[in-house]
Point group: C2
Chain length 303, copies 2
Amino acid sequence: MELLDGKKIATEIKAEIAIEVKNLKANGKKVPHLAAVLVGDDGASQTYVNSKVKSCEEVGFKSTLVRLNKDITENELLTQINLLNNDDSVDGFIIQLPLPKHINEEKILLAVAPEKDVDGFHPMNVGRMALNMPTYLPATPKGILELLKRYNISTEGKHCVVIGRSNIVGLPMSILMARKNKIGNCTVTLCHSKTKNLKEETLRADIIIAALGIPEFLKGDMVKKGATIIDVGITRVQDHSKKSGFRIVGDVDFKAVSPKCSYISPVPGGVGLMTVVSLLQNTLSAAKEEFYKKTINFNLDEV
Amino acid sequence: MELLDGKKIATEIKAEIAIEVKNLKANGKKVPHLAAVLVGDDGASQTYVNSKVKSCEEVGFKSTLVRLNKDITENELLTQINLLNNDDSVDGFIIQLPLPKHINEEKILLAVAPEKDVDGFHPMNVGRMALNMPTYLPATPKGILELLKRYNISTEGKHCVVIGRSNIVGLPMSILMARKNKIGNCTVTLCHSKTKNLKEETLRADIIIAALGIPEFLKGDMVKKGATIIDVGITRVQDHSKKSGFRIVGDVDFKAVSPKCSYISPVPGGVGLMTVVSLLQNTLSAAKEEFYKKTINFNLDEV
């Protein structure tokens, strides 16, 4: 069994990005600039946003944190987004989720200009992904592809089972693993809460991507010998033996599953660390205009 | 075994649409208007476009056929598309594929305004579909959902195997069947040219959607007893016994498969006839502004 070491790969990629940023500077070009919008004072959201801002600093990006009061109206937030859409100094930006309940999340995500949507959540970018056009991929799926790539895990013709159909992980992952790409070309089965005999499905899998959000759901008897396991779960469970009072648990029963598989991503230290790196990669792509030209006309000049 | 009678259902739906059109007229509203762009003089394309125009007449839609010379430049075609995008009298339009080789099909499809993209091919609409937001669905997948719905075929928790991963049928079908909808909630396996042991996959399926374009590919020994079979294939094969010199063959070996299954869509007379109807439904939705408001601002006011 080999660990898919997200920490090691994330560090490698950050170092590569830092070199690119230095080169951009040396060539007199603008440093990539990510903005993050944080509404309210939810503790977990603050932690996530802070780690994104910190990562920007590590690789030499410029970052801006836009903090907004939890009582902001939907229209005020839309105005803020429009400012960011039209701010030429900002290459890409994200709206940290979840938003307060009085704000329609879908409406907000649709308001982000697709060319600055470095989270890859806008339908335009989800559609481009599905159609196998170059675009910003959502962070977690992109991080998983990168892990598989850097560990030279061959995926073509393999049977991949994805558990969970969320818009940000399970669904895009199922699309990406089936696409005609080097990391891809799998026969993909997408399982979810309505799946009967899930164990029957996972036992057939060469690659399992567990993204359902139930701690230690995937047990040892659900996994074929030699499988590759990607654990996307991140749940805090109480643990009084820890100073923080909790520990982070994945969707995979690591102790039972790890002896059976050829590769497994641990939690923590696996996919989670790759997610922030994907965001940095997307922001770099935005700055380099890899997918969209900066002045675009939706009807005619795009791509 | 029961036939999924596309002809019967298509006739029913056309009658329903015709009544809606009459009501629109009676209420002093505009009649839905579909435009079709045909480049060149390919025989099959002409046949398809003509059948779309004829269907418009049947239900009382206005239709416009824009015929363009096969030597038209890409820029000239883009100009034409922009005219249609900005023509308030046109609710929706389609570009008949394939286009001549000197024209970049992707660029053309991206030029169609998403709110008039009644083929559902634009990434914006593909993304909205994937995210389970209301939108124009691509015609063939939409037709298949409609067939399943009108025959009251229960899909929840069923195992659905889709064969073929094309952008216009296989891929969207795999997404739609897995979504959290009445017709949906399947465990979906997407198979394609890189799939090993396809027979092992199809034998496990409660529902098989064959969309790979190989005549009579799905044989009797590949199908579980009682399965529902959707045949999307439409291939012309030589047949000197026919006056036309050919006959239309699906992807399913109908003679061998039909005795084993509970439902099967025949070719011809199945899915093909539903496709044009889907286009009419999408055009009606466009005229009624079901998914997009007519004057939209991509950044703020959409949906």
